[in-house]
Symmetry: C2
Subunit: 411 residues, 2 copies
């Protein structure tokens, strides 16, 4: 039960130290966008930055821009800007390739660092690409795949205690439930049991503070087009802990991962640092949007971000309690990402009806209504309006309209 | 010896059936750009197409664009537009990931189709990424790497006759010499000897007609940012011959390569057709430039393209004969890509001096001056001017200027 009014929310917005960031994103008038955990909003500076890259750097300076405009070094310069958002040193992160390819690289590298152990431990409910890539890695490496529910502490401890786990792959925040895992505790537990850990940060980078180095993480992979606002399909990033730099070997050994690419040597020699996780050329035009976004992110206080994120999700949970949907996301703040998931068998139709009212969330099969809260461009008033709309959609039964019948959705 | 004058060239331009395409590309006034084999020129329609994707599709429609704007299917729709340029059926080509990752996938798939044979045969002078990725594949697959000079017919026949070659990886056009390989003959020879073939089309797609299906090719990978003008680091494409569709298995088994991704199934099942070579999300903003370029390419007669390409390279060879540089590219038209390479120990400085004169070519270690001829935006008069500038650079000795000393260059 809550008595929070819209006026209360407007007052909170007036005092919100992050409120100024809203103007750095372009969003359609009147839309409440709760799907930034799928595709982040467009940074206001991105169109100009992209146009400069396309028209001036590519159009006018052509190949000269590989050096002049820093194209060649983008995977490293952008990686260095992602680093503080995930608690890493600048040389521990590179940007390039997609999340699936980077998961593949990290898992193979981890298996090679732990060659006496035959098992990759994944999580039963992970995002499909994590599951599928793990299958692919297990097959090509002759390893065995096992799965566990990481939110069941006894099950996780037991699985790790088996003593044959080479590497554990976990999502820091579960894409479906929004559960935030304790990176420090789990990494420690894995290490104690002789396993390395690959963290998937797709739903946590830019959503919650991430402390890879402090937690002793080995490898991590993350998405830039969700909370990091780099645009559809923008390149992913890879973290390689410094202690593994001299020895970690990933298998897609392309030219850009070479120690001395301009020697055009006939043999491969891996580059220093996280650069050895690079393979080939990266989409520079896509990187321009990431660059615009990361300039905003350099000014964000992640402590304030987390505080606002929890306040927004807490508010949404409170305000929708009367709707009669089951809360899937943990009620304890320390176990919650920047997301609220609710369950209802007719969730798909409800999400469609809500979109019709100008509130964009999404649906994850079989029955999850999923709402992402990007603290940089969402206000408390937005959350109030979204919750009110959801309560009204459920109450009115307007989701019964056949227009809202099942179709496919995209992450 | 030649007596071709600039006026002759202007007359040839007046009769050139491809001359109209020049206006579909934006190039700086006064520049002669002979580096389209490294980074193609900007299509005039690309900035507008990119802005639409960024501002309208991403900025206003957000996640809805995955379906509405066809983002989800871009790897296939763009692949279908690349297909006619490489002699493939629409469902045999997908666009996504970088060239290095795609080479990795194709080589692993080929090895899996030929499991009794332990050897990957590469070419000794191939582009570094091809060499390095082959090393990486050999290691992870427990295969052996061997290299051969494919332009030495006896050596190639001998290497294939060994009887233990699972797959041959060749560049259709050599990046350094511009030598065009006989795809039909070599593919036949490989098949006769029980080997599959992966063709690297980076320097031939958009440069010469490619007939993958007619030649019986198994797999191919190609670049879109050279002759196909899709912008720096734009996604690569993969060709998978239809006869391998049901059985070819690549190892980076991500969500986008799944048969029914929206089932969110816990197990991987490869998609139909070339789609099984996809892994994760692709950079949609980068794809917008490719889309603009491919719309131009759909109107190009590849026979006319080849005719003009040979006329331009022939003209350049003739006009630079007196410069005293050694011709590296084959003199026989049927063995020549859309490129002329010349050799000189001081080639690096000469290329820099030439760039200073507004003629952009590039240099490939240790001693190759490399000039690419993109028939869609180069005129005969351009080639005359470029050749005259090169002859003058060499004659004058202006390349001795210390400003032109060695630095790094990018492919």
């Amino acid at each position: 039960m809550t008595s929070t009014t819209r006026a209360d929310c407007v007052r909170r917005d007036e005092k919100d130290p992050l409120a100024g960031f809203r103007s750095e994103f372009l969003l359609p008038e009147g839309l409440v966008y709760l799907d930034g955990n799928s595709l982040g909003a467009l940074p206001a500076a991105a169109p100009g930055r992209i146009a400069k890259t396309v028209e001036r750097e590519w159009g006018e300076r052509l190949v000269a821009s590989w050096n002049e405009a820093g194209w060649w070094d983008k995977p490293r310069t952008l990686g260095a800007q992602v680093a503080p958002l995930v608690g890493a040193a600048p040389h521990e992160v590179v940007v390039g390739d997609g999340t699936s390819a980077n998961l593949f690289k990290a898992l193979v590298a981890a298996l090679r660092l732990n060659p006496e152990r035959p098992v990759v431990l994944g999580e039963s409910g992970n995002f499909p690409t994590d599951l599928y890539v793990t299958e692919g890695v297990a097959e090509i490496m002759g390893a065995v795949e096992r799965r566990v529910d990481p939110d069941n502490p006894a099950a996780l401890s037991g699985a790790l205690a088996a003593g044959d786990i080479a590497v554990l792959l976990l999502s820091h925040v579960d894409y479906r439930t929004g559960t935030l895992r304790d990176m420090a505790r789990i990494t420690r537990l894995a290490h104690t049991n002789g396993a390395l850990v690959v963290w998937d940060l797709c739903h946590s980078a830019g959503a919650v503070p991430v402390e890879l180095a402090a937690c002793g993480a080995d490898f991590a992979v993350g998405c830039t087009y969700k909370y990091l606002n780099a645009g559809p399909g923008a390149p992913s990033f890879s973290f390689v802990a410094e202690r593994h730099h001299a020895v970690a070997r990933q298998p897609i050994t392309g030219w850009h991962g070479h120690a001395r690419p301009f020697d055009f040597s006939a043999e491969y020699a891996p580059a220093e640092g996280a650069s050895r996780f690079l393979s080939g050329s990266q989409p520079v035009v896509a990187a321009a949007a990431l660059e615009a976004s990361l300039e905003v992110w350099q000014r964000v206080d992640l402590g304030l971000l987390r505080k606002k994120s929890l306040a927004l999700t807490e508010l949404f949970i409170e305000l929708t309690e009367t709707a009669g949907l089951e809360l899937v996301t943990p009620r304890e703040p320390e176990r919650r990402g920047s997301q609220v998931s609710l369950r209802h068998p007719e969730g798909y139709a409800m999400v469609q009806a809500l979109i019709e009212r100008g509130v964009v969330g999404d649906f994850r099969a079989p029955d999850v209504l999923r709402f992402g809260f990007a603290p940089l461009y969402l206000s408390y008033a937005d959350v109030f309006d979204a919750a009110a709309a959801l309560v009204e959609v459920v109450r009115s039964g307007e989701w019964h309209d056949p227009r809202f019948a099942v179709s496919r959705t995209v992450t």
